[in-house]
């Protein structure tokens, strides 16, 4: 039993994020729960505004002003972060848990050199000397595929391309050898060719260093390649979760099915043929949200969907939040 618990690096239980807006409270994340095991990659997928980013920021306690989080439990390596003070959070952040952001162009401080920003966390958490930290930085810059790393340390962010900056961000996140890495759409802002490189790099590093990774993306192609497990978010809730193969092979929730149908498949999608489209728009999350939030766009919707849908679990670990007991 204890070995099983040690296996789980992150256990999120009943996490909600509310944002105060002019029109009322926006329920950006609504009572979600999931676990990430050591060395595992979990992908959080969903459309823009479904609460993926808010979930990751809530775990790191980095929510913007006006957003508040609630959780029954937010356990990192068995320790409940939802009750930890700012000092304890600061001791874990950048050391045991690290994060990479969507926008490499603005995520680095323009006023300081790459080297200065790389060594910061290592010197703070490891009480290392400047020389030790720089050595570690050079080692990691090499690992993320940056040539002549020693010279790069003296450069400023504006002297680097977007792809290089994201590599620097990855190296920065890995400085202290974290147990958990949260990557919030790390390739969205990059060129398509660079996207593939960065994703492969992340997947390789994750495997080599045995880090648990939460990868947030809206790109199902990425998910299929690197995720161990997938959680599909819709309107602030996890509507389906399970092992990657099971979820892609046998999607149970109509929304997951719709998402997968939107991906063009070579050989199956006819040239000039139409891709799948999910009709309608995401409902507003301001004020009270009742029942299944997908029902307005769902082909299987019926009266019972106006009540909160039940959560079903299959033996293979797949779970879904729908009145349908079997595949849609």
């Amino acid at each position: 039993m204890s070995s099983l618990q040690n296996d789980v690096i992150l256990a999120v239980d009943g996490l909600s994020v509310d944002i105060a807006t002019q029109r009322g409270t926006l329920h950006a994340v609504r009572d979600i729960s999931f676990e990430v095991k050591r060395g595992e990659t979990l992908c959080l997928v969903g459309e823009s505004g479904c609460g993926k980013s808010m979930t990751s920021l809530a775990i790191m306690d980095l929510l913007p002003k006006g957003a508040t989080r609630r959780a029954r439990r937010l356990a990192f390596a068995g320790e409940d972060l939802s009750r930890a003070g700012a000092r304890r959070i600061n001791a874990l952040r950048g050391d045991r848990m690290a994060m990479i952001f969507q926008e490499p162009m603005t995520a680095l401080n323009p006023a300081y050199t790459i080297g200065n920003q790389l060594v910061e966390a290592y010197r703070l958490h490891r009480k290392a000397s400047e020389a030790e930290a720089r050595e570690r930085a050079v080692h990691l810059l090499g690992k993320v595929g940056i040539a002549s790393a020693g010279e790069r340390l003296g450069q400023y962010p504006h002297q680097l391309s977007g792809g290089l900056r994201q590599r620097v961000m990855i190296a920065m996140a890995l400085m202290c050898g974290p147990d958990l890495l949260i990557a919030d759409e790390p390739t969205t802002a990059l060129d398509v060719t660079i996207q593939a490189q960065i994703l492969r790099l992340l997947a390789d590093l994750q495997r080599e260093l045995g880090i648990a990774m939460v990868l947030i993306t809206h790109d199902l192609g990425v998910v299929a390649r690197i995720a161990d497990r997938v959680a599909v978010m819709y309107a602030g809730q996890i509507v389906e979760e399970g092992p990657t193969a099971a979820l892609f092979g046998n999607p149970r929730h109509p929304y997951t099915r719709g998402l997968i149908d939107c991906i063009p498949v070579p050989g199956r999608t006819q040239p000039g043929g139409k891709l799948g489209v999910i009709p309608g728009v995401v409902p507003s999350l301001v004020g009270d949200v009742r029942g299944c939030s997908f029902r307005d766009r769902c082909a299987f919707a019926r009266e019972a969907c106006a009540a909160a849908p039940p959560v079903h679990r299959a033996p293979d670990g797949q779970s879904w939040r729908c009145i349908l007991e079997n595949a849609a």
């Binding site: 952001f101 323009p110 504006h158």
Partner: protein, 305 residues
């Protein structure tokens, strides 16, 4: 970085030259030098004689080139009112004004930067409102009036500080506060606005994600970026300081350049006026140059330009 500094230095020299020309021609337009030299009740022949002797009948451009040449060689002429060389006069007064300028700028920054940071970090709290009140009062109060309040309080009621003169450091305390408080509000508002903007930047979130403590996030990562526009404002505010020092120096009988400027205008003392205007503008150009260099150091992206 050195190339950048040299480029700015060249530009600064050109600006100083242009300013010297404008100052020369403007002053000549403001009144007749020969009449001023001759004094009241002089006869027309005397004025004509003076015009010939001093070479004032030649074209203005020739006079300007000659004046510039003499000035560059260090010959500033003789004061018509004090009857002493202008260079000695100016050198005598300059240190007082420089000291007052630096102390009041220092005072302004010392007050406005911490206050601006506090106001931004605790935006819309009572601290923010208090800082705003201090700024509004500073902006609304004429500095001669504020200077008089200071005199009433510290010299007459408490008897802590001397009313006037420039013999000891104690003579500089009230002028420094009066002049510093005059320019502080603009700094404070700018620091506050800059900090509020910078604190919501992505790289601040990155810094927090590293687990850095709040003071490091605020003072290392945020403040440096928020200070870039402040440094640019410093140059502009120094201009205000030089202007304000005319009033403040006069009130406290602080014998500096500002007071000399006031006197030379009153007595139509052309040689002194010209040199004071030139000196103040060169000072201003130099300070702007310093601000540019400091900005380049703060924000590496500027160095390329």
């Amino acid at each position: 970085m050195i190339g950048y500094v040299l480029k700015r230095l060249g530009l600064a020299l050109l600006v100083a030259l242009a300013v010297s020309a404008i100052a020369f021609f403007l002053l000549r337009l403001s009144g007749d030098a020969a009449t001023a030299i001759a004094g009241e009740g002089a006869r027309q022949e005397d004025i004509e004689l003076i015009r010939k002797t001093y070479g004032l009948d030649r074209p203005l451009v020739v006079q300007y080139v000659e004046w510039l040449w003499q000035t560059l060689r260090g010959d500033f002429g003789t004061s018509l009112y004090f009857k002493t060389p202008v260079s000695a006069l100016v050198l005598d007064k300059l240190p007082t004004t420089i000291v007052l300028g630096l102390t009041s700028l220092g005072f302004a920054l010392l007050v406005s930067i911490p206050l601006g940071v506090l106001a931004a970090v605790y935006a819309n709290s009572w601290i923010d409102r208090l800082a705003l009140a201090i700024a509004v009062v500073g902006q609304a109060l004429p500095n001669f009036f504020f200077a008089l309040i200071l005199v009433m309080f510290f010299s007459i009621t408490l008897r802590w500080l001397p009313v006037s003169g420039s013999d000891s450091w104690a003579h500089f305390v009230m002028p420094t506060i009066a002049l510093g408080y005059y320019v502080a509000p603009a700094f404070m508002r700018l620091v506050r606005a800059g900090m509020i903007e910078v604190l919501s930047a992505d790289y601040i979130r990155t810094a927090r994600a590293k687990g850095l403590p709040a003071r490091s996030v605020i003072f290392k990562h945020a403040l440096r970026n928020a200070l870039v526009p402040v440094v640019a404002l410093t140059a502009v505010q120094l201009g205000f300081l030089l202007g304000g020092s005319v009033v403040v120096e006069t009130i406290f009988a602080l014998d500096g350049l500002g007071y000399l400027a006031y006197q030379s205008i009153t007595y139509k003392d052309f040689p002194v006026m010209q040199v004071v205007v030139l000196l103040l503008s060169v000072l201003y150009v130099l300070l702007t140059l310093l601000a540019d260099v400091a900005n380049a150091w703060l924000d590496p992206r500027i160095r390329v330009a």
